[in-house]
Amino acid sequence: MTAVAFPAIHLVLNGKRVAVQVHPMKRLLDVLREDCGLTGTKEGCGEGECGACTVIVDGRAVNACLIPIGQADGARITTIEGLRGRHRLQAAFAAHGGAQCGICTPGMILAAVALGPRPTLEQVRTGLAGNICRCTGYEGIYRAITAAQDSVPRKRP
C-alpha cells in the first residue's frame, strides 16, 4: 500500500485540517488509530454493536469501524482527544464512577456529548443504547451525566 497512489482525503479532525492519503476503503477507526496517532478510539467488536469506536462525524455519533475513509472527505470529526480532557463530562465520568476499566469510556463520553447539554434520563438511556459497558451496569454513567449537567467546565489540573 504506497501512500502516494491514493488521493488525499481532507478531514477537519478535532478542529484541525488534516489530509490523509490511505486506501479509501480503510476504516475510519484504523485511520484515526494508525495514521493520525489517535488511539483513544477503541475497537471492541467490528460489528457496530459495542460502540467503543464511537466518534462524532458532522455532529452525529457514528461507529468508526463501519465507515470507509473514502466516505469521510470533508467531514468534521471529533474523537475523545478533541475534548482535550477539559469537557465537563470527562471530569464527571472520572469523579462519579462513570469509568471503571475505561475501554468503553471514550465512545461513551462522545455518545453522551452527542446527546446535547440537558438530556433526560430517558433520552440518556436511548441515546447510549449503542454503547455497551460491561463494568458499571450504567448507573455510574447516569450519575456522571447528571452531575455534568449541573457543573461548570473546568480546566484539567
Binding site: M1, M25, G48, N63, L66, P68, G70, G130, N131
Partner: protein, 273 residues
C-alpha cells in the same frame, strides 16, 4: 478486521448520472450507502465483493417530500432523518417507529432506507412497513427509470428484481388510510435483530406484513382476507399461524415466532380498534 483492503477498489462517482453509467459500464460494483451492513461483512471476512461504488455524497438520493398525498423518500435517507422528519412523523408514524428500533443511535445516523431494502434481509425492520404501506420502489439505470411495487420486489432469500446496473433511488408511499401499527420483538431492548417484526394498517381490508417469519418480508393475504371478511381475531390467529413459515435459528425458535406473530396480530387488532 479479516479482509485485506489493498485489493479492494472504491469508485467515487461525480454525480448520480455518473454512478449509473459506472454501474452499467464498469461493473460489477457494489453500491455503498451507510455501510452498516457491508462493513460488518468486511470486518468478518465474509464479504466476497471487491469493487465498491460510493453513493454517500450523492445528495440527489436524499430528501423527503410530499406531493398530492404521496410521500417520496430518497434512498439515502437515514433512520435519523426519518425520525426527525415532520412529514414522516405526521403521515407515516409506523416508519418512524421502525426507524427508532433499528440498532441504536450510531447505526441510525448512518443506515439508510435504500440500504435496508437493498440488503434484503428477511429481518429488515423497515421492510414490513414498506410492505404494509404498499410502497413503490424507484429503480434507475443509466438508461431507464422504473417503479416496482415493494410487495413484488423480492424474489427469494436476499434476492430481488433489482438488476446489477440499477440503483434504488427513492421509495414512494401512497397515502395510507387507516391506523398504522408497528412492533418489533428483538433479542433485547436495543441493538437487536428481530425475532418477529410486524407492521399493520387497519383499513377496511387490513394490510399486514411480517419480517423474520419467512425467507423474505411477507404480506399475509389469507389472514388479511379473513379479517376483511369479518373473521374473529381467534380465527385470524389460527390462519396466520398456518400462513407464515418461521424457522429455528440462533436467535429463536419457529414455535415461539409463530405464537408471538399471532399475539402481535391480536395486539394490533385491539390497539387499532
Amino acid at each position: 478486521m479479516r479482509t485485506a483492503i489493498s485489493p479492494l477498489a472504491l469508485v467515487q462517482p461525480r454525480s448520480l448520472g455518473d454512478a449509473l453509467r459506472l454501474l452499467r459500464d464498469e461493473g460489477p460494483l457494489t453500491p455503498l450507502a451507510g455501510c452498516t451492513d457491508v462493513f460488518v461483512g468486511l470486518n468478518f471476512g465474509t464479504l466476497r465483493d471487491r469493487r465498491f461504488l460510493n453513493l454517500w455524497h450523492l445528495d440527489d438520493l436524499r430528501g423527503i417530500e410530499r406531493r398530492k398525498g404521496v410521500i417520496r423518500i430518497g434512498a439515502l435517507t437515514t433512520y435519523t432523518d426519518l425520525i426527525g422528519s415532520a412529514i414522516v412523523r405526521r403521515h407515516l408514524p409506523m416508519l418512524v417507529a421502525a426507524a427508532r428500533e433499528i440498532g441504536a443511535v450510531q447505526i441510525q445516523n448512518r443506515g439508510t432506507l435504500g440500504g435496508n431494502i437493498a440488503n434484503g434481509s428477511p429481518a429488515g425492520d423497515t421492510l414490513p412497513v414498506l410492505a404494509a404501506a404498499d410502497a413503490l420502489v424507484e429503480l434507475r439505470s443509466a438508461d431507464w427509470v422504473r417503479t416496482v411495487r415493494f410487495t413484488e420486489f423480492y424474489t427469494g432469500y436476499r434476492a430481488s428484481v433489482r438488476r446489477p446496473e440499477e440503483l434504488i433511488t427513492a421509495i414512494a408511499f401512497p397515502a395510507v388510510e387507516g391506523a398504522q401499527w408497528f412492533r418489533k420483538v428483538g433479542t433485547r431492548a436495543a441493538q437487536s435483530i428481530s425475532k418477529v417484526v410486524m407492521a399493520g394498517v387497519r383499513a377496511t381490508r387490513p394490510r399486514i406484513a411480517f419480517g423474520s417469519v419467512a425467507p423474505t418480508v411477507v404480506r399475509v393475504p389469507r389472514t388479511e382476507g379473513a379479517l376483511a371478511a369479518g373473521a374473529s381475531i381467534d380465527q385470524a390467529r389460527a390462519i396466520l399461524q398456518e400462513e407464515i413459515r418461521p424457522i429455528d435459528d440462533l436467535r429463536s425458535t419457529a414455535s415461539y415466532r409463530r405464537r408471538v406473530a399471532a399475539n402481535l396480530l391480536a395486539q394490533f387488532w385491539s390497539a387499532t380498534d
